[in-house]
């Protein structure tokens, strides 16, 4: 970081201003990999809808609650992401994060769809636990890539829910663990990211580069 009030000459002051501009622009370019808070909220709501569907629909329809909700949410994510990220530049980091979440999403699909189709949804321990483990892994990998402890903690919360889900004997606890993790790790975390996004955009509007 450059201190700007201790320079002896106008040239040094100008140089420090130039360095500050370079720093801020490089930072801006690297972090403008688009914002995904909306996506966490969308998937959180989708999990709630799928859980409600599998709990309250008749047994035949309940089987399809997860596959249908997940497929529709996947399509919605692709459409919204394409619309929101138009013109956003790609960075190595953004491609790494996209890879992590694509791997997680496809992993959940490959894990869950055959279980549902084969009628092995069972009591939900394996099904829900598997999803929680994959989500936790994606958050921890993403947190490590971004060097962001908060997201790592979100991943640990998903894994905690997975341990509860896999070990509890009560379906109610399984449901509570999944709903709590969804509310905190998806909806809460997503809303937090959306707040950060609006703050960042306001700050950017306030400090844009003047026309040279």
């Amino acid at each position: 970081m450059v201190e700007t009030n201790s320079f002896e000459s106008p040239a040094q002051r100008e140089a420090s201003e130039q360095l500050a501009l370079i720093e801020s622009m490089i930072r801006e370019g690297r972090k403008s990999t688009s914002y995904w808070g909306w996506n966490f909220v969308l998937w959180g709501v989708a999990y709630l809808v799928a859980t409600a569907g599998s709990s309250f629909l008749t047994s035949r329809a309940a089987i399809w609650a997860w596959p249908v909700t997940m497929t529709l949410t996947g399509i919605a994510t692709a459409v919204i992401a394409r619309w929101r990220n138009q013109g956003e530049p790609q960075t190595t980091r953004s491609r790494a994060i996209t890879g992590i979440w694509m791997g997680c999403g496809l992993g959940i699909f490959v894990f869950a769809f055959p279980l549902v189709l084969a009628g092995r949804f069972g009591d939900g321990h394996t099904f829900m636990g598997g999803i929680e483990v994959l989500l936790g892994a994606a958050h921890i990998a993403s947190g490590a890539t971004l060097r962001w402890r908060l997201q790592g903690a979100v991943g640990v919360l998903w894994w905690t829910a997975a341990v509860v889900t896999e070990t509890t004997q009560y379906s109610l606890y399984l449901l509570i663990a999944f709903l709590a993790a969804t509310m905190i790790c998806n909806i809460g975390f997503g809303i937090y990211l959306m707040v950060l996004e609006s703050r960042d955009k306001a700050r950017l509007r306030a400090g844009q580069v003047a026309h040279a």
Binding site: E8, A11, M25, V209, H211
Partner: protein
């Protein structure tokens, strides 16, 4: 006793302008960027931005790629290795000028 005030060394005139420096720095953090994204980040006008990008292109500091995405023309800019070197040299010159004033 204070040292005599330093003068700005011979800085690369192509990137010394505030907007061109900002553009090159933005491109340093990404692989490619669209004209519209650069315009949004620098709050510049089309004409002004286009003129400055052209100067960077003529100096060999940025490369330009034009293509169609969803049948819309898109202009993509990327920093070249010469541009990266020029920015690194520019930063080194600024740091040399600042010397001990950097904390």
């Amino acid at each position: 006793m204070p040292e005599p005030a330093a003068a700005l060394p011979d800085l690369d005139p192509v990137i010394h302008g505030k907007l061109r420096l900002a553009l090159l720095s933005l491109l340093a953090g990404v692989e490619q960027a669209e004209f519209t994204w650069l315009k949004q980040k620098t709050s510049s006008t089309d004409g002004n931005l286009g003129a400055h990008l052209l100067k960077l292109e003529e100096a060999g500091y940025v490369s330009v790629e034009k293509k169609f995405v969803s049948r819309k023309p898109v202009t993509l800019y990327a920093m070249t290795s010469a541009g990266r070197e020029a920015l690194a040299n520019y930063v080194a010159a600024l740091k040399a000028l600042l010397g001990g004033a950097l904390v």
